[in-house]
């Protein structure tokens, strides 16, 4: 990761945030467009969940991350705090790997 990448991403992320309050001012977005745009993050997040659980070196793999995700899913469903979910997933994977040697 280079500094130019860090600074470039920072500038782009800020520009996106500033579109509404700085550039547009106070004109509201068309509601039907807003509903579609609101969805954009959803499939990306779903893909991040699955690819970072089952992806590895350009292949699909089944390892300790899958049961860790199941534990996380159970905790999310039970409305556990964010930190508990993340730590429980790490703990599950760490224990399984330690047990497997």
């Amino acid at each position: 990761m280079t500094w130019s990448a860090v600074l470039g991403l920072g500038a782009a992320a800020y520009a996106l945030k500033a579109v509404g309050p700085v550039v547009i001012g106070r004109r509201p977005v068309r509601p039907d467009l807003a509903r579609v745009l609101e969805l954009v993050a959803v499939p990306l997040l779903a893909a991040l969940v699955l690819v970072q659980t089952f992806g590895g070196g350009g292949r699909l793999v089944l390892d300790a991350r899958a049961p860790a995700l199941c534990v996380a899913a159970l905790l999310v469903w039970r409305r556990a705090p964010f930190l508990v979910v993340v730590l429980a997933a790490a703990g599950t994977a760490a224990l399984l790997r330690a047990a497997a040697g």
């Binding site: 992320a13 499939p43 790490a90």
Partner: protein, 224 residues
């Protein structure tokens, strides 16, 4: 919501994201970023999901372009938040420009939960400042601590990513269109993993909005 409970909620949200920032700091250093780069990301990018996407792809062996593309797409939702907050973020241009950096999931959600504009503005600022301070302190702690922790895999740190994204995703799945987008996008990404470079499957997942848009249109049609 009265001012005291806004402050209390803002502090609680800040502390929770601060703890999350520690894990970001640890993972970023493990993925090869320097401590200074890790902290600069939190100060300048200040969007958790994008930052996790960058270090997640880099940590999995992807290149910088593959890491930046999904991060930018994830950051794009802040533009929508900003558009939805134009009534809340008032004041002079310089003041609005500063407040824009505080536009994230948490501050937007808190502002939207209020009944009137004045309270919404207070909730946005309290939450945004609280999260900004905690997020950056947590990042520094995690980045400094990270190097001394040892093998991130043995600690299960790689399993933190999908868990974190799942926790961010879950509250958005209430709407049928969102569930459609998640299912199509997720499956498409998995199918592409063996055939495309790292990062491409995540980008391709955006196509999940296509079937979801059709679901939206169906929902908008009047029931016969």
């Amino acid at each position: 919501m009265p001012a005291t409970s806004i402050r209390r909620d803002a502090v609680a949200i800040g502390l929770a994201t601060g703890a999350y920032a520690i894990s970001y700091g640890v993972l970023a250093v493990a993925a090869g970023l320097s401590v200074a780069q890790t902290c600069a990301m939190s100060l300048l990018v200040f969007t958790g999901a994008s930052q996790f996407a960058v270090v997640g792809v880099l940590g999995a062996g992807g290149g910088v372009p593959a890491a930046l593309a999904p991060a930018l797409l994830l950051a794009a939702r802040n533009a929508l938040y900003g558009l939805s907050l134009v009534d809340v973020l008032r004041g002079r241009l310089a003041s609005r420009a500063l407040q824009a950096q505080l536009i994230i999931d948490e501050s937007t959600a808190m502002a939207r939960a209020q009944g009137d504009i004045v309270t919404a503005r207070r909730a946005f600022l309290a939450t945004g400042v609280s999260v900004f301070v905690c997020w950056n302190l947590g990042t520094l702690a995690g980045a400094v601590l990270g190097g001394s922790l040892g093998d991130p895999r043995a600690l299960g740190l790689d399993a933190m990513f999908p868990a974190a994204f799942l926790a961010l995703l879950a509250p958005q799945l209430g709407r049928p269109a969102a569930r459609t987008a998640a299912i199509y996008g997720g499956i498409l990404a998995l199918v592409l993993v063996p055939f495309t470079p790292v990062g491409v499957p995540i980008l391709a997942a955006i196509l999940g909005v296509v079937p979801a848009t059709r679901a939206l249109r169906r929902a908008a049609e009047p029931v016969a």
